[in-house]
Each structure stands twice: as structure tokens, then as C-alpha cells.
């Protein structure tokens, strides 16, 4: 039938038109065994994969990497500051939040790189605008395409399966939105099976066959969903649980789903998940402590699971938020929207350690930290050095490369 051969074309407004039957190879060919890394031709630089964890709402950078060696820190944050004795020390009188114990272990082992003072010029303090800027890499105007979506478009020629790019959640987030509609959104693997009598499911498959006109959008999405569901059914049961994930931890659930996809050998290369509600305008202490703990425990299990499934070397994880928070705490025991903040990168392929300088706490701009490193330099470095993609075409201009990756 029509399954297994599809190609999409974009027209104005991002509507997808199914062309189908263009003679591409069947996705079934991408199925491999456990831990196989070269199973998909799409995995740019020799089976390298990228997992992105977005901390939604603006994570407090100053209470994630605490500058306990800087005196003003305690003046700005009399109630919220992390005490020197509790911080988990990094280099240069900086310390991790006390609940980031696993991260401290990764840092000591050289597997965690922390890029400091990351943001962009003329920071916008709207969640939505700043999210969009990080999603697209564009500070001027609104681009309909995300940076990873653009990457997927540009590198699609190598041939890619229906599971090449997966967002954990109900819909594809802006960073993965591209013209070719390559990414699929999967909230839970349990839902990824069509139910009903054989006649009813056959009718549904038929209804989502080739179509044009106003139904093309949903038919395109339907075909992608069926292709993803079928690929999951065919996927080798390559995953073996290599870690015990913390219970009731939404990030842990998402990351386990991600390892299952990666271990299944379905050619998944780019993954995205969102965690938390970091918009801590009030009562930040207890809430942020808990989010840091959940984050640390989930990522610890995830890293162990990746290693157990033979994926430690091929997966790089990027952790970012749309902005940090105001240097000075507010009267509600929280912090308002800020600017530059640290970005975490995790994996065996990294050099580890700190990159860049911690922003000054006295030389502020509009009460906020000044930009140190443009986030697009991180994107450019990962595109070029990890995904094997010339980055200027993705980002629209040239950005400095950073010494993040092992050579």
C-alpha cells in the first residue's frame, strides 16, 4: 500500500502536501539491532544523536550555578542565595545547586560542560518571544522554522525514517518545526497503536491515503503518525532497562521514552523534551530545590540507561532555558524575568569543564546580567562538530565556534 514511501512538500503557510510514491526506500530498512548506531543514513556525522532538554519558564541560572565567590550574590539574594558550604564546588569559586549531585559527578568526570553567561543581544523578557528566539536562532522578525527543523530540512536528502526527529509531547515544538514536517510528536508509546477491528483500522488507513486540498494537512500528519506507529511496531525490542527511573518524575518518563527510541534502532537522531515550570516569581526556594532534584535524578538514570544500552558515546544532550532570572530577588521570595544564564551540555563527546566567564554581578544592564556567549555559537558548534552540518545555512549567518567537543 502507500505506507513506507512518502515525501512532503511545503507550500505557503506550512501546509503539507503528500506526494508519496516517489520511490524512496521503505523505512523498514532503517530497523536495526540494539545499540546499532549506523542504522540510519540520516544520522549526520556517523550516528551522532542530539537530545535537547528545554527547561520551560526561565530557569534561575544564579541558583543553578551559584557564584558563591562573588560578594554581591549574597546582597542581591538575601533569602535565596545558595550558601557556600552547601554548593557543590566547580572551578573558580562557583558551585552547583546542592541537589545537582549527579551533575557534579558528571562534571568531575569531564562529561558535563557548562557554558556560562549564555544569551543574545538586546534580551527580550517575554517568555514567548525569548522562547521563539532560542527556537529559531533569529532575533529579528519571526521565523516559521526552528533551528533543528531547518537542520532536518537541509540534511534530509540522506534519507530518513518516520522516527528521525521526535518530540516528546503532544505537539512538535518550534525548534523542530521545519518545512518538510520531518518531526513527529509522541506523548506516550502506549498511544502509538491503532485500535479497532481489522476492517475499521483498514478504513482509517485508507482515509488517510493520498489527498489534496484542505485535507492535505491532516492527511499528511495522519500518514506520518501511521508511519511512526508502524515503525514502532516493527522496531526491534532492542531496549533493555538499564536504570531505575525515579517514580512520578515527568522528565524521567520522557527520557526513558527517548532511550527506548534510541535503542530501538529506528533511526532516531534528534529528540526534544520539555521539563518543568521554572517561572519562579514567588516562593522559589522550595520549588526550585525540588525541580533541581527531579532534574538531577532523571538525568542520572537517563545517562546510566544510555550507557547500559551502548549509547553513551553517540548521544549528546543540550539543556537550556529561554532566559535566566533577575539578579536581585523580589519581595515574594522569587525572581522576575532575567537574561543570560548557563547552558549544560552532557555526553562522552565533550571536553567538559567551564566555558566562558561568569557574568559580573556589579556590572549589570537594566538590573540584569550581561551577555557573555551568544547561544547561537553553541548551536553552530553542535551543528558543525556533532551533526556534521554546515551551520551558516541553518542559522543565517556565521557565529563563533566554541571549544566544546573533543576532536
Amino acid at each position: 500500500m502507500f505506507l513506507g514511501r512518502r515525501e512532503f512538500l511545503t507550500v505557503a503557510g506550512g501546509v503539507l502536501v503528500g506526494l508519496g510514491a516517489l520511490g524512496g526506500r521503505a523505512w523498514g530498512g532503517a530497523v536495526g539491532s540494539a545499540g546499532a548506531t549506523g542504522s540510519s543514513g540520516a544520522a549526520g556525522a556517523a550516528g551522532k544523536r542530539l537530545v535537547v532538554i528545554y527547561l520551560a519558564g526561565g530557569n534561575d541560572g544564579l541558583n543553578t550555578v551559584a557564584p558563591y565567590g562573588m560578594g554581591p550574590y549574597y546582597d542581591l539574594r538575601p533569602r535565596l542565595a545558595i550558601k557556600e558550604a552547601e554548593a557543590l564546588p566547580l572551578a573558580g569559586k562557583l558551585g552547583l545547586h546542592p541537589n545537582l549531585k549527579a551533575m557534579k559527578g558528571f562534571y568531575d568526570a569531564g562529561r558535563l560542560t557548562i557554558v556560562q553567561g549564555v544569551g543574545y543581544p538586546n534580551p527580550d523578557r517575554s517568555h514567548f518571544r525569548s522562547y521563539d528566539i532560542w527556537a529559531t536562532g533569529q532575533t529579528k522578525g519571526v521565523s516559521p522554522v526552528g533551528w533543528l527543523g531547518r537542520y532536518l530540512d537541509l540534511s534530509a536528502a540522506a534519507g530518513a525514517g518516520p522516527l528521525r526527529a521526535v518530540a516528546v509531547g503532544a505537539s512538535v515544538p518550534k525548534p523542530l518545526v521545519g518545512g518538510s514536517g520531518a518531526a513527529v510528536a509522541i506523548e506516550s508509546l502506549n498511544e502509538m497503536k491503532l485500535k479497532g477491528t481489522p476492517a475499521a483500522t483498514a478504513a482509517i488507513r485508507e482515509m488517510y491515503g493520498l489527498g489534496s486540498g484542505p485535507l492535505a494537512l491532516v492527511r499528511g500528519r495522519g500518514e506520518a503518525a501511521l508511519a511512526a506507529a508502524d515503525a514502532l511496531q516493527r522496531m526491534a525490542s532492542g531496549y533493555k532497562a538499564g536504570a531505575s527511573y525515579p517514580k512520578g518524575n515527568p522528565l524521567g518518563n520522557s527520557l526513558q521514552l527517548i532511550v527506548k527510541l534510541l535503542a530501538g534502532g529506528g533511526g532516531t537522531q534528534v529528540l526534544f523534551t520539555t521539563f518543568g515550570a521554572f517561572d519562579e516569581h514567588a516562593g522559589e526556594k522550595a520549588h526550585h530545590d525540588n525541580l533541581m532534584l527531579q532534574f538531577d535524578q532523571a538525568v542520572a538514570a537517563y545517562q546510566q540507561d544510555l550507557a547500559a544500552n551502548g549509547l553513551g558515546g553517540s548521544v549528546l544532550t543540550l539543556v537550556y532555558s529561554e532566559f535566566g532570572r533577575r539578579a536581585k530577588e523580589n519581595g515574594s521570595g522569587g525572581t522576575d524575568h532575567g537574561t543570560a544564564a548557563p547552558v549544560f551540555l552532557l555526553g562522552d563527546g565533550l571536553r567538559g569543564g567551564l566555558v566562558g566567564e561568569h557574568p559580573s554581578l556589579t556590572d549589570l544592564q537594566d538590573f540584569d546580567l550581561k551577555l557573555g556567549i551568544d547561544f547561537r555559537s553553541i548551536y553552530a558548534t553542535l551543528l558543525a562538530g556533532w551533526l556534521g552540518q554546515e551551520p551558516d545555512a541553518v542559522l543565517g549567518q556565521r557565529y563563533e565556534r566554541l571549544p566544546l567537543l573533543k576532536t
Binding site: A170, M207, L215, H281
Partner: protein, 432 residues
């Protein structure tokens, strides 16, 4: 006299769809009369008995139960536009239970949205400023003059009224000062939690806000924002997107904004302008909008005469829309974002739940007596308001029914409910 196609469109968008018999009842009225009827709603919201939720029995503190009750309202109300607008306002003043914590406060806010759903926006905005769930959600709760909290001050402009543009960071800080002094008293419960105002915590000083100067309070800020022309434009454009299309129609949006300003912010007047505009019935608008999960679920229940339930609520969540828990303060994105892979599969699998809910006993009020496969398929397409239907979809449904409709009543009902199960999965039915 209004054409059936226009009425189907109007009832899908201004409500949750209408059965063929309901459309027929309006046959002799012209469009202005039908719109007037839709907008004619009682001042006090309709009382609707909750659905029977058994094992365990109904608990107002349980999220799934509150969701089931709201879906039941959408499915059974005599005033569908009230529920549609309540859903709009929930997405607009998007407040989430995870941070608010108390389910009863979400219900209090839901009641507030319903009471003001078609009324004065200024009144709604002012009430929202001291709604306990909103105070907790955007941290107005306990904000004091010593260091005012900026959360509500920013979002009330960016997301609830003017949209980005007319204000600066200084306006955010000035509004934050005016909004100080309010607190949710979580110690006193009398059906809901009281909100108190402390003159000590309030900043009584002069504020410079959007070019005006005064000792502004929360009510003043709401009044200033509700009267701004940018607010008229912002709400008109958002209502157009919600009811009509992601592509703006400049003339209609302008007319809606004018209606807002002329009427002093009466939402009913804005909607009347929209529902009477030719552009609302244009080819690019009709059948073009992806249904939200709530519209999809509640609409199906309504068209099939089924009650709201926890299972329906759970399916709605798995399709990507958790009522009372929007993804963030901007609400649900809508449109093609509803069509993620597992969300779409859940929509298709919702059909299996529909088949079970319809039961094994034939329902006299639903199409099951048709003699030929063509008649049966067309009757079900009409039941779900699908018109036009693509050749591909109709052929697939005809193939599902087979060469003939069984003569036996029970066997025929089996075919009918399998058909109903499959029609809800049709590409056409994902659109409103």
C-alpha cells in the same frame, strides 16, 4: 432564510456542532435571527446536573471529575456559545491547576469565566485581577510594595489585553506596584478561598503608566487596559483566530474592534459582528479549522447524545488538551499543533470508546434503519455534520459497510456503531 451549510458552520464554531434535526429546526429563520438566538443567554449561567460518575463517586477535588463535568456541560448545554466562550477565556487567561493547587479555585475561576463569558471585558478583566486562582498562578498573591512581583503585570499586557508593543519595561514595573496588596487567605474556606487586601502592603504612590500618571490601583490598571484601542484590536484578532481562521481578515477584525470600542467592551457585540460577517462564511474559513480536543470530544458526545465521563476527559488529555492545565500562561497553541502523532492516534482510538459507549442496544435516535450501505454511510456523515466529504473517505466507509446492510436490527446496529467509530477518525471530522 439561512442555508443549512451556513448553519452547520455557525453551530460548529459558535458551539459544539448540531444534529441534523437541530439544523432543521432553524430552517425558517434568517441568519440575524439565528445569531440573535445564539447570543440570547441568561444572566445567571444555566444549572446543569453533573453526569453520574460512579465508582468512585464524584469528588470536586479530583481534576478528572471537574473535567468530566465541564465536558458534560459542553455536550448538553442549551447555550453552547457560553461554554465555547468559557473555553476561549480559559485559553486566554490560561491558568493551571498544578501551580494553583486547589481544584476548587479552578472551579471558582471557571464559574467566573462563564458568568462573564459574553459580557463586558472590562468587568471580566477587573474580576480576574483578584480571582484567587489567578493571584496564585501569576504571583499577585502576597506581592508587596517592598519588592513588587512583575509576573501578572507583564502578562496582563502581553497576553490578556494590548499584546506586545505599547508598553515598556518601566510600564511593567509601574503596573506591578499598582497590583500590590492582594493575598489569598488559604485559612478561611467557605466554598472557596477569600481574597483580602492590605493597605500596608499596597504601594499608594504615584505611578507613570502608559503615558498616564496617578495613584493607580489594580482596578485602575484593568480599566486603563480595557479601554486601550490595542486591546480592542488584540481581542478582535484573537477571537477571529479562535472562531474563524488563523489567517486574519483585516476588514472583519477592524469591524470587531470597532464594535468593542463603540460598545465599551461588550463581547456580545464583537461576536455579533463576527457571526454576521460574510468573511466568516467564506470558503477559506468553512471546514478549515482543526478542532481542539475539547471540541472534538464534547462535540462527539453532543452529536451522539452521550454524557461527559472521566474516560472522555482522559482521552481529551491524551489528545493534548488537559482542561484546567494549559501548557503555559499563553494557553494552547491550536491549529496544526493539535495533530501530533500520538494525539492523532488517540483521536482515532477515541472511536473505539465511542463504539462501546453507544452500547449493544440499537438507539432509535441515531441512524440505524437505512436499507442500503450508501444510505447508512450518508446518514452517519450527516449525523456528524460532514459535508462535503472526500471521495477517498466515502469509499473507505462504503467498503467498511460491505455489500449490504444486515436485515437483523442488532446486527445492523453493530455495523452502524462501527461506522460511527470510524467516521470520528475521518480526516474531515478533525476539522470544524
Amino acid at each position: 432564510m439561512a442555508e443549512a451549510a451556513k448553519l452547520r458552520h455557525l453551530f460548529r464554531r459558535a458551539g459544539f456542532g448540531a444534529r441534523p434535526v437541530e439544523i432543521a429546526a432553524y430552517r425558517d429563520q434568517d441568519l440575524p435571527a439565528v445569531v440573535a438566538d445564539l447570543l440570547d443567554v441568561p444572566a445567571e449561567p444555566e444549572t446543569i446536573a453533573p453526569p453520574v460518575l460512579s465508582k468512585p463517586e464524584f469528588n470536586p477535588e479530583r481534576l478528572a471529575d471537574m473535567q468530566a463535568i465541564w465536558l458534560h456541560r459542553m455536550a448538553t448545554t442549551r447555550y453552547p456559545l457560553v461554554e465555547k466562550m468559557t473555553l476561549f477565556w480559559h485559553g486566554h487567561f490560561a491558568t493551571g491547576i498544578k501551580k494553583v493547587g486547589k481544584a476548587v479555585l479552578m472551579q471558582t475561576q471557571n464559574d467566573l469565566l462563564r458568568r462573564h463569558s459574553l459580557g463586558s471585558f472590562g468587568a471580566l478583566l477587573q474580576a480576574m485581577g483578584t480571582d484567587p486562582a489567578m493571584l496564585i498562578w501569576l504571583d499577585g498573591n502576597g506581592s508587596t510594595r517592598r519588592a513588587p512581583n512583575e509576573n501578572y503585570a507583564r502578562e496582563v499586557m502581553e497576553l490578556f489585553t494590548t499584546g506586545p508593543g505599547p508598553y515598556t519595561e518601566a510600564d511593567v514595573k509601574a503596573a506591578a506596584r499598582a497590583l500590590t496588596g492582594w493575598r489569598v487567605d488559604k485559612d478561611t474556606f467557605d466554598g472557596t478561598f477569600k481574597v483580602t487586601f492590605s493597605a500596608q502592603a499596597f504601594d499608594p504612590g504615584v505611578k507613570q503608566f502608559l503615558g498616564q500618571s496617578g495613584k493607580f490601583t489594580a482596578a485602575d490598571i484593568a480599566g486603563i487596559l480595557a479601554r486601550r484601542p490595542e486591546t480592542a484590536k488584540f481581542l478582535a484578532a484573537k477571537l477571529w483566530r479562535f472562531f474563524a481562521s488563523p489567517v486574519p481578515d483585516a476588514a472583519t477584525v477592524d469591524a470587531m474592534a470597532d464594535a468593542y470600542l463603540r460598545s465599551g467592551g461588550e463581547i456580545k457585540e464583537v461576536l455579533k459582528t463576527l457571526f454576521l460577517a460574510d468573511a466568516f462564511y467564506s470558503d477559506s474559513v468553512v471546514n478549515s479549522q482543526v478542532k481542539s480536543p475539547a471540541e472534538f470530544v464534547a462535540g462527539s458526545l453532543r452529536l451522539l447524545g452521550l454524557p461527559g465521563s472521566r474516560e472522555a476527559a482522559s482521552l481529551c488529555t491524551r489528545m493534548g488538551q488537559t482542561l484546567y492545565d494549559p501548557p503555559n500562561v499563553a494557553g494552547w497553541q491550536g491549529g496544526a499543533a493539535w495533530l501530533g502523532a500520538s494525539s492523532l492516534l488517540t483521536r482515532w482510538n477515541f472511536g473505539e470508546a465511542v463504539r462501546l459507549w453507544l452500547g449493544a442496544v440499537p438507539r432509535a435516535d441515531l441512524p440505524a434503519t437505512a436499507a442500503s450501505p450508501t444510505e447508512l454511510v450518508d446518514a452517519w456523515l450527516a449525523q456528524f455534520g460532514i459535508n462535503p466529504v472526500s471521495h477517498t473517505t466515502r469509499e473507505a466507509l462504503l467498503k467498511l459497510v460491505g455489500d449490504r446492510v444486515p436485515a437483523d436490527g442488532r446486527a445492523r446496529w453493530e455495523v452502524a456503531r462501527t461506522l460511527a467509530r470510524t467516521v470520528v477518525a475521518a480526516p474531515e471530522y478533525q476539522f470544524a
